[in-house]
Each structure stands twice: as structure tokens, then as C-alpha cells.
């Protein structure tokens, strides 16, 4: 029930889901636990996923994509998570979903031709770097400086918590080219190997283990001016446009993780016995599951509604923030209850729900915190 796809999905969405699930079950699920424990998945997986046509979902065929829109991307990511059971792998494979849209939507034809096809072919890895050690929520006051010097920018500063940052071949980076505030921000594509660009360290974290998260350092890093996306000092708009879609993608992750945790809990409740009967026999437990299913259905319904509005061209800034909060709340609740249903086993590292519980904790933080979502909702509500 909790995995009923939305009414706007076509038979082609269903077929895409089948293909991605098959890929995830074959290429990810058998290794999910090992990759999560190793804090890394093999780089070849990008190429495998690309060959299966997965990385290109949501991007135009002209740039090596597979076509389709946000609804296809969300369906694909859900199957990747549910079929593959490794959230870290899914989000690592998907880091281009936030790194490429600014280039696709605001870059020149030459930039699109140069940066998109190798990523969608799985040959290069792309990351997005906005957050800095000094702060992430307040994007408009970011500190990394880019100073013009002939036909280069000299970039100095640091970024942190960057998904796929350790392995990225290029990073779509938010820098300050102008004065204070959001009017002084630009987006630069900074390539690996550019002198002065280095990975500070790979960060150890609570969840999302299979995905690498990096601190990046720019020390007099010389970036060619042709890597500037859009006009100078207009970077804030692409960043904010990107966020609305990212929030729906993250809501999609949450719905998928919650469905997975719920299915695990239902299975376990049927198997596990206490006081002479399966624990599913206790009404208290069945009601817990009913609440979990309800929260997932509600999160899914709101998310699908906002996707449909986004696809017909509505501005969904506030709604996307609501969809994210609803989905992260549902996911945190469901994963917590799933651990509870598993009892002691739920606290053990080899149990899937233990890992999902840790993965779930990221979502009210990443892509804009729960508090920042509320700030956005306040603004769009007009108070």
C-alpha cells in the first residue's frame, strides 16, 4: 500500500521503475551492507548505472541524458533506494542531480556540451558545493572569494559537507565575486586537478556511509573565466531554483527510505514471536504499523501533488518546503518505530533498519534544515 505510485505516473514510469529495480537488486543490493561498512562504493558503478540508462534520467538526450522529467527522476531514485537498500550508494550515485541543473538551466551551450555528457555517461563525477565551515543555512553570506585576474578567477576559501566531494571531477561551486549579500554570489565550475584545489578530508558521519562527504579547500585556485555559470553576481537565483527541486528529490528519498523501513518492520512483525504468538498478533503493534503506513501515504501524496504542480510550471517554493518537512518527519518517525519493532535486533549494525534510522537523520538537516524550510514557508505565507 505504502508504495502505490502516484496517479500521474504513466505505464512508462512503471516500466522505468521495473528496470531500475532490476538494476538495483542485481548491482547494489548484494553489496549494500559491505559498501556501507566500507564507506565507499566502487567507482565502476557510475558507468554501470550510466550504461543501464539510469544516470541520464531527467536530462535531455542532446546532452547524453535519457529524457524524462522530475517525476521520472523521483521514481528512478525511489527504486534505486528500495531495490538497492543502500541509501549511501543511491545518494552518491545521484550527486549530479544537484550539481548539473545550474549548468543545464543557466550555462552556455558550450558549457552544457562540455560538462553534462561525461557525467551522464558515468565517466565523470559531479558535486555541488554551497555549504561552508562557517555556515550553510545562510547562503547569502558565504565567504569563499573569487577575484578576477586576467582571464581567470582566483578562488580562496573552503567548502564542507560536500557529497561526492572526494571523488568529484568537477564541483559546481558557489563563490563571492561581488559585495556582501546575495547580490555578490556567482557559480563557478571548479575542476579536479586545478592548482590550489584540494580535498581537505573525507568526513566520518552518522549515516549515508557509502557516500563520501568532503571538506574542500581552495587556496589561490585559478579557475578559467569560461567556467563561470551565467552572469557574474547572479548565482543566487540558480542556487535557489536548484533548491526547490533538490527538496522534492530529498522528499522522494525520505518516502523511499520510510517505505523500505516499513516493509522490513511488517515482515519482522510477522516472523518474530513473543508470548507464544507472532508480535503482529498484538494490536498495539499493528496500530504502530498503521500509523507508519499513514504517515508514508500522506508524505507521498503531498510530494506527488507538488511534483505535479512543479511540472505544469507553478512556483512551488513554499509547497516544496512543506513536502520536504512532511517527508522528513514521516521518515524519521517510521525509521524510529521500525527500530523499536525490531527490538534489540533493531539496534544491531547488521540490521537494515538500524542503518536506515541513521540515514534518516540527515534529511531534516541536508538541503536546507527543517527550520530553514519553516522560514521559507513563513515567507511564502506572508508573515
Amino acid at each position: 500500500m505504502t508504495s502505490l505510485p502516484s496517479l500521474h505516473e504513466t505505464p512508462e514510469h512503471a516500466r522505468l521503475r521495473d528496470e531500475i529495480r532490476r538494476f538495483a537488486r542485481r548491482e547494489i543490493a548484494p553489496f549494500a551492507h559491505a559498501w556501507e561498512e566500507a564507506n565507499e562504493f566502487p567507482r565502476e558503478l557510475y558507468e554501470k548505472a550510466a550504461r543501464a540508462g539510469m544516470l541520464g534520467v531527467g536530462y535531455p538526450e542532446a546532452y547524453g541524458g535519457s529524457g524524462g522529467d522530475l517525476s521520472h527522476m523521483i521514481a528512478a531514485t525511489e527504486e534505486l533506494i528500495v531495490g538497492g537498500t543502500s541509501v549511501g550508494t543511491a545518494v552518491g550515485l545521484g550527486s549530479h542531480a544537484i550539481a548539473l541543473p545550474p549548468i543545464l538551466n543557466f550555462g552556455t551551450e558550450e558549457q552544457k556540451k562540455r560538462f553534462l555528457p561525461p557525467v551522464l555517461a558515468g565517466e565523470k563525477i559531479a558535486a555541488l558545493a554551497i555549504t561552508e565551515p562557517g555556515g550553510g543555512s545562510d547562503v547569502a553570506s558565504l565567504q569563499t572569494r573569487a577575484v578576477k585576474d586576467g582571464d581567470h578567477y582566483v578562488v580562496t576559501g573552503a567548502k564542507t559537507f560536500i557529497t561526492s566531494g572526494c571523488r568529484a571531477d568537477f564541483v559546481t561551486t558557489a563563490v563571492r565575486t561581488g559585495g556582501e549579500g546575495h547580490g555578490g554570489i556567482s557559480l563557478l565550475v571548479i575542476e579536479r586537478g586545478t592548482p590550489g584545489f584540494s580535498v581537505g578530508k573525507k568526513l566520518a558521519k552518522m549515516g549515508w556511509w557509502a557516500s563520501d562527504t568532503a571538506e574542500l579547500v581552495f587556496d589561490g585556485c585559478r579557475v578559467p573565466r569560461e567556467n563561470l555559470i551565467g552572469e557574474e553576481n547572479t548565482g543566487f537565483i540558480p542556487i535557489m531554483t536548484n533548491f526547490a527541486v533538490e527538496r522534492l528529490l530529498l522528499a522522494g528519498n525520505c518516502v523511499a527510505i520510510a517505505s523500505l523501513a516499513y516493509d522490513e518492520a511488517v515482515r519482522y512483525a510477522r516472523e518474530r514471536r513473543a508470548f507464544g504468538k507472532p508480535i503482529m498478533g498484538f494490536q498495539v503493534l499493528r496500530h504502530k504499523l498503521a500509523d507508519m503506513a499513514t504517515r508514508i501515504a500522506a508524505a507521498r501524496a503531498l510530494m506527488n501533488d507538488v511534483i505535479a504542480r512543479h511540472l505544469r510550471g507553478d512556483m512551488v517554493t513554499g509547497l516544496a518546503a512543506m513536502a520536504k518537512n512532511t517527508a522528513t518527519d514521516a521518515c524519521s518517525f517510521v525509521c524510529d518505530e521500525a527500530v523499536q519493532i525490531f527490538g534489540g535486533h533493531g539496534y544491531m549494525r547488521e540490521t537494515l533498519v538500524e542503518r536506515l534510522y541513521r540515514d534518516a537523520r540527515l534529511y531534516p538537516i541536508g538541503g536546507g534544515t527543517r527550520g530553514i524550510m519553516n522560514e521559507i514557508i513563513c515567507k511564502t505565507e506572508g508573515y
Binding site: E12, R15, E19, R26, R51, M54, G56
Partner: protein
């Protein structure tokens, strides 16, 4: 080369616990079941695609693959999936699942083969629902064509196929002259199992059935899919097989733990009596 691939949908083997049998035991209750293509038929489709292309350029077709299924309107989902995977054209023979048996399907396929004139009919060695393992063999007999069952490897030659079959104690290799009927086993989708005359022998495929990417899924909507009446292929629709009853397998008893190998051996010898 033109290949006809017969596909059947089966109840999703991953959800086998949803299969219900009413107390009367007269039939299987199919409500609420999820359907999947029979895995062996998917392997046959993959083999057919490999035989009609140069493996190094899979986007260029070098031959034709026609897929056929028997069933109600919903079974067109199975056909559209096959078209997305790469088949060129599809035929649905309109029929009701419970009014078919292997003999009737084979007779209807014979009529279809006479119309379509493929060089090869490829099919799975069996469907994983009824496990009858009959249609390929009956069809070859009706057509009076050479047959190779349980193919693990196929190499195309001029006017023939060299088919490797895994048998107890080794591999038996048959050369079947075309046209022929070939049924496939699961190893047919291994990286070096199938070679057309165009594919270099150094080429290695990805293991398993290929994935359909979104552009192919979209393009499949526009590929030709026609409906044919069963009566037009097989005027006589009498069945040879009738089912007398269904029963669920007995529930498994809980296992036991043994403390060491010698206890295991003694139990296998004295209690299970398998040694």
C-alpha cells in the same frame, strides 16, 4: 535473421506467498497477484537480440525480433516491456489464461510461424508457473523443424545455429539447420553465451538481460503491436490438459541445529537416510 520469441507472463515469483488456493482446491486464485515476464522467456528475448545485432553496436539492428504472447489485454504490458528492451514488433494472441494448455499454444504458434516465417523460434525452456516444459518441443514436432532444448550457448553459422546444452557430466553441442526451434536455459545470458555472425568473438556482453533506458521505453510506445484472434490461428480450441485439483505445499517444519559435522553426518545417515 528473423526470430520469433514467445513470451508468457507469470505470477511474480518474489511474491509467491500471495498465491492463494480456495478451499475447494479447484483453481488458483489470481486476484491481487503481480505479474512478471517468465524469466526464461526474458532470457530468450536477450538471446534473440544478441543474434540480431553486432554486440559492439547494439543500437543498430541487424535482423528482426518479433515477440508474441497469449493472453488478455493486460498482457500487452509484457509485450511493451519486450519492445522497450529491444524487440521490433509484437503480437498479442487474444486468449484467456485458463483456457490454454501447452498443446493449444503450440498449435496456434505453428499457424503464426507459417504466417511470419521466422528463421528461428526462441523460447524459454519452461514457464516458472506451471513448469510444464512442453511448448517448444510440441511446436518443433508440429513444424517438423530441428530442435535444441535448454540452450546454454548459441553461435550463429551460415544457415545454422551451433547450440551448446549442459547435460549431466558435460556439454553436448548440436548443429541445427535453420529454420529451427530453440529453448533456452539461464546460462544463455552469460557474457560470452551468444554470438551472431556479426559480433566479434572477442566481444563480451554484460551479464544478464539488458536494461531498457528511458528513451527506449518511450520509443516502445510507438512500435507496432497487433492483436490476433486465437480462433484465427487455432480453430480447434479443445484442451488436452485438464486440472483436477490444487493444494498448497505442506508448511515447512522448523529445522534443528547440530553441534558438529559428525552429528550432522550421523543425522543424515540415520534419520534423514540420505547417505
Amino acid at each position: 535473421m528473423k526470430i520469433l520469441v514467445a513470451l508468457k507472463r507469470v505470477a511474480d515469483p518474489d511474491n509467491a506467498n500471495k498465491v492463494k488456493i480456495p478451499a475447494s482446491g479447484e483453481k488458483i486464485d489470481t486476484t491481487g497477484l503481480e505479474w512478471k515476464p517468465n524469466p526464461f522467456d526474458e532470457y530468450a528475448l536477450e538471446a534473440a537480440l544478441r543474434l540480431t545485432e553486432n554486440g559492439t553496436q547494439p543500437k543498430v539492428r541487424a535482423g528482426e525480433v518479433v515477440v508474441v504472447t497469449f493472453g488478455p489485454k493486460e498482457t500487452e504490458t509484457t509485450l511493451r516491456a519486450a519492445l522497450a528492451t529491444g524487440a521490433d514488433r509484437a503480437i498479442r494472441v487474444d486468449a484467456s489464461d485458463d483456457k490454454l494448455d501447452g498443446d493449444l499454444v503450440a498449435r496456434a504458434l505453428k499457424a503464426l510461424v507459417e504466417k511470419e516465417k521466422p528463421d528461428v523460434v526462441l523460447m524459454g525452456k519452461q514457464a516458472v508457473d506451471g513448469d510444464s516444459n512442453q511448448v517448444g518441443q510440441i511446436l518443433a514436432e508440429l513444424l517438423d523443424w530441428p530442435m535444441a532444448t535448454f540452450a546454454a550457448t548459441i553461435r550463429e553459422e551460415a544457415g545454422a545455429l551451433l547450440v551448446g546444452r549442459e547435460v549431466d557430466g558435460g556439454v553436448s553441442t548440436l548443429r541445427v539447420k535453420l529454420p529451427a526451434v530453440v529453448t533456452v536455459d539461464l546460462r544463455i545470458v552469460a557474457p560470452t553465451s551468444v554470438y551472431s555472425t556479426k559480433t566479434p568473438s572477442t566481444h563480451k556482453y554484460n551479464d544478464g538481460v539488458r536494461f531498457a533506458a528511458l528513451p527506449a521505453i518511450m520509443a516502445a510506445k510507438k512500435k507496432p503491436l497487433v492483436e490476433v484472434k486465437l480462433a484465427d490461428l487455432a480453430p480447434d480450441q479443445a484442451l488436452k490438459v485438464s486440472y483436477h485439483g490444487f493444494a498448497a505445499p505442506p508448511a515447512r517444519k522448523a529445522g534443528i541445529k547440530v553441534k558438529d559435522v559428525s552429528e550432522l553426518v550421523s543425522k543424515l545417515k540415520n534419520e534423514a537416510k540420505v547417505l
